[in-house]
C-alpha cells in the first residue's frame, strides 16, 4: 500500500493535507483497473466511491433514447472524478465509462463520509477541495452552455 500512499500524497487534490488525514484516506483506498468500455459506475446506482485516475481516460455520459450515449466530459490522467457519494441521496447521476484501459485509486465514500462527520477538520479540508473542483466543473459546464463555437449564429 505504500505506493497508494505515495500517489495520494503527491496528488494535487490532496496537497497540503495533514499526514494523519492522508493516512486515514489511504486506508479507505484501493487500486482498481477498468478495461476499455467497462463502466466505473452507472446512473442511478448507489454512489460509494470517488476516483483518482492514475492513468487512462474515462468518459462521463448519459444515454438519451433515440440519440444514444452522449458524452458530457472526459477525465484523464491526474483527474479526480465523482462526488455523488458526498451528497444525498448518494446516487450516481451519470454513467462513467473507461474509453481506454484505466487505472485508478478508488476511495470508499461511505467510509470517508463517516470520518468527515466525525472529524470536521478533515471534513472541511475535503469539502474545500471538492468545492473548488465543483467550481471548475461548473465553469466548464457554463462554457458548454454558451455554445461558444457559435453554432446558432446567422448573418
Amino acid at each position: 500500500m505504500e505506493s497508494l500512499a505515495k500517489v495520494l500524497k503527491e496528488h494535487p487534490f490532496l496537497e497540503g493535507l495533514e499526514q494523519r488525514h492522508i493516512d486515514f484516506i489511504t486506508g479507505c483506498g484501493s487500486n482498481v483497473v477498468f478495461k476499455k468500455d467497462e463502466f466505473l459506475f452507472r446512473e442511478g446506482d448507489e454512489a460509494n466511491h470517488f476516483y483518482f485516475i492514475r492513468h487512462g481516460k474515462i468518459i462521463i455520459e448519459t444515454y438519451i433514447p433515440q440519440k444514444g450515449p452522449i458524452a458530457i466530459q472526459t477525465r484523464e490522467t491526474g483527474d479526480v472524478t465523482g462526488w455523488s457519494w458526498l451528497i444525498p441521496p448518494y446516487r450516481w447521476h451519470f454513467d462513467a465509462r473507461a474509453v481506454e484501459l484505466t487505472r485508478a485509486i478508488a476511495l470508499d465514500g461511505k467510509c470517508l463520509r463517516g470520518k468527515m462527520d466525525e472529524d470536521h477538520e478533515l471534513g472541511y479540508e475535503l469539502m474545500r477541495r471538492f468545492a473548488r473542483l465543483m467550481a471548475q466543473r461548473l465553469e466548464a459546464t457554463r462554457m458548454q452552455l454558451f455554445d461558444v463555437y457559435g453554432g446558432n449564429t446567422k448573418e
Partner: protein, 378 residues
C-alpha cells in the same frame, strides 16, 4: 499679395473661375433655406441674409443688409460634393460563369467651392487624411477631390453654435485654400480683402478687378476676426479630452443623454468629417446585373455594428457614446487629429438640440464632482 476687391466687382471672380472652366458651387437659397449648390452669379449668393442658430434651431433671417457672406455654416457640407451621399461605384454584368465589371466612368468637373469657412477647410483636410493618406485610398474621393479650387471666407460673425476657437480651426482660414476672402463693410465702403494660398489662387487673383490692399484694410480684417473669436457661441474644453472620454466609458451621463438622443443619425450626416459609409450590393430584377453603391451611413443605426447574430451596440447610450468618443477621442488615436472642427452643425441640426459641448462639459463636471466627494470622504 493681398488685394482689395470692391463688392461691386465680386462677379469678376465668378467670371474668371467660369472662364477657367470651373463649375462654381456656393451658398444659395432654396425654398427659404441655405444650401450649397451650383451657382453662376453673385446674385445667387444669399445677399442680405443672416442666420440664428441654437441647439435644434436654425432660422434664416433676412437682415436687409448688403453683405454676401453674412450667414455662417448651414446644414449642407462640402462632403456632399467630395464624398457624395450616394454613389454608384460600379456595375457588374453576368458573363458566362463569371461576370464583368462595368466601371462608373463619370466626368468629374473642375469645381470651385465658394464660401468655404475655416472649419470646413479643416474638415476637408481631415477627410483627406482618412480617405487618401491611409493604407488604402478611396478612388472615387480622390477623383472628386482633384481640381477643387477653394475660395475661403473668413468668419467675422460666428454662429450661435460655433466653437471653432476651442478646436483651433477658425475663424480665420490659415491654410488649405486657394483664395481667402474677408468681407468688410466699414466707413470706406463694402469690399473684400482677398489673399491667395496657392499658385492657382494667385493666377486667379491676377485676373480679377482688385487693387492692392492698404494696411488699414488688413488691420480692419484682423480686428474683425479677433472680435469674432470673442463672440463664439459655444466653447469646448479640449484639455485632456481623449483620456477624459476613455476614462468615462461607464459615465452615467451617457444614460442621461440617451434619454434625449433620437439615434436618428442627423448629427453624423451633417458633420463635415463623419466618414462612415455603407456598401450596398444590389441585384436587379434581371438577375444578370448587379451594382455596388456607396451610401452615407451612421454609427447611430443598429446595422452599423451588426455582426452575425446581432448588433454590438444595441443601446442608444452605446451608440451616442461611440459617436462622441470617436469624434473627440479615438479619432485622435486613429488619425492623429480630432474629428471635430467646431462648426456646430451637430448641435444646430440635432432635432432635439443635444449639444456636444454641453455633454463633454457634463462628463467633465461629473468627474470633478466624483473626485471632490472622494476627497471629502478621505
Amino acid at each position: 499679395m493681398i488685394l482689395v476687391l470692391e463688392s461691386g466687382n465680386l462677379q469678376s471672380l465668378f467670371d474668371t473661375l467660369i472662364s477657367e472652366k470651373y463649375q462654381i458651387i456656393g451658398p444659395t437659397l432654396d425654398n427659404s433655406a441655405l444650401i450649397y449648390d451650383e451657382i453662376t452669379n453673385v446674385d445667387d449668393l444669399p445677399v442680405g441674409y443672416t442666420d440664428e442658430q441654437d441647439g435644434g434651431r436654425y432660422r434664416l433671417v433676412k437682415s436687409g443688409g448688403k453683405k454676401y457672406f453674412d450667414y455662417v455654416v448651414g446644414q449642407h457640407t462640402w462632403k456632399r460634393y467630395l464624398y457624395p451621399p450616394e454613389k454608384k461605384l460600379f456595375e457588374l454584368k453576368r458573363k458566362g460563369d463569371g461576370f464583368e465589371i462595368v466601371e462608373n466612368k463619370q466626368e468629374i468637373h473642375k469645381r470651385a467651392f465658394i464660401g468655404v469657412r475655416a472649419c470646413e477647410i479643416e474638415a476637408i483636410r481631415i477627410q483627406d487624411e482618412i480617405l487618401l493618406e491611409g493604407p488604402y485610398k478611396d478612388a472615387d474621393y480622390e477623383r472628386c477631390r482633384q481640381n477643387i479650387f477653394i475660395v475661403a471666407v473668413n468668419c467675422v460673425r460666428p454662429g450661435g453654435t460655433c466653437f471653432c476657437v476651442s478646436m483651433g480651426t477658425g475663424p480665420r482660414a490659415t491654410k488649405g485654400f486657394d483664395l481667402a476672402i474677408t468681407e468688410i463693410v466699414d466707413n470706406s465702403g463694402h469690399y473684400f480683402l482677398i489673399e491667395s494660398g496657392t499658385k492657382a489662387g494667385e493666377k486667379i487673383m491676377k485676373e480679377i478687378k482688385g487693387k492692392e490692399a492698404d494696411q488699414n484694410a488688413i488691420e480692419t480684417a484682423d480686428r474683425l476676426m479677433k472680435e469674432a473669436e470673442n463672440k463664439m457661441g459655444r466653447r469646448l474644453d479640449t484639455d485632456d479630452i481623449k483620456e477624459l472620454l476613455y476614462r468615462n466609458f461607464e459615465s452615467s451621463r451617457w444614460e442621461v443623454v440617451a434619454q434625449r438622443c433620437l439615434n436618428c443619425g442627423n448629427c453624423t450626416l451633417v458633420c463635415p468629417t463623419c466618414f462612415c459609409i455603407n456598401i450596398e450590393d444590389i441585384s436587379g430584377l434581371e438577375v444578370n446585373s448587379a451594382k455596388r453603391v456607396r451610401k452615407w451611413d451612421s454609427c447611430f443605426t443598429l446595422d452599423h455594428s451588426y455582426i452575425y447574430g446581432g448588433s454590438v451596440r444595441t443601446s442608444a447610450k452605446a451608440r451616442y457614446r461611440q459617436w462622441l468618443t470617436h469624434k473627440l477621442a479615438s479619432w485622435i488615436d486613429q488619425f492623429g487629429m480630432s474629428g471635430c472642427v467646431g462648426c456646430g452643425r451637430c448641435i444646430t441640426w440635432c432635432p432635439v438640440g443635444i449639444d456636444i459641448t454641453e455633454e463633454v462639459q457634463a462628463i467633465r463636471e461629473s468627474e470633478g464632482k466624483g473626485k471632490i466627494m472622494a476627497d471629502k470622504e478621505e
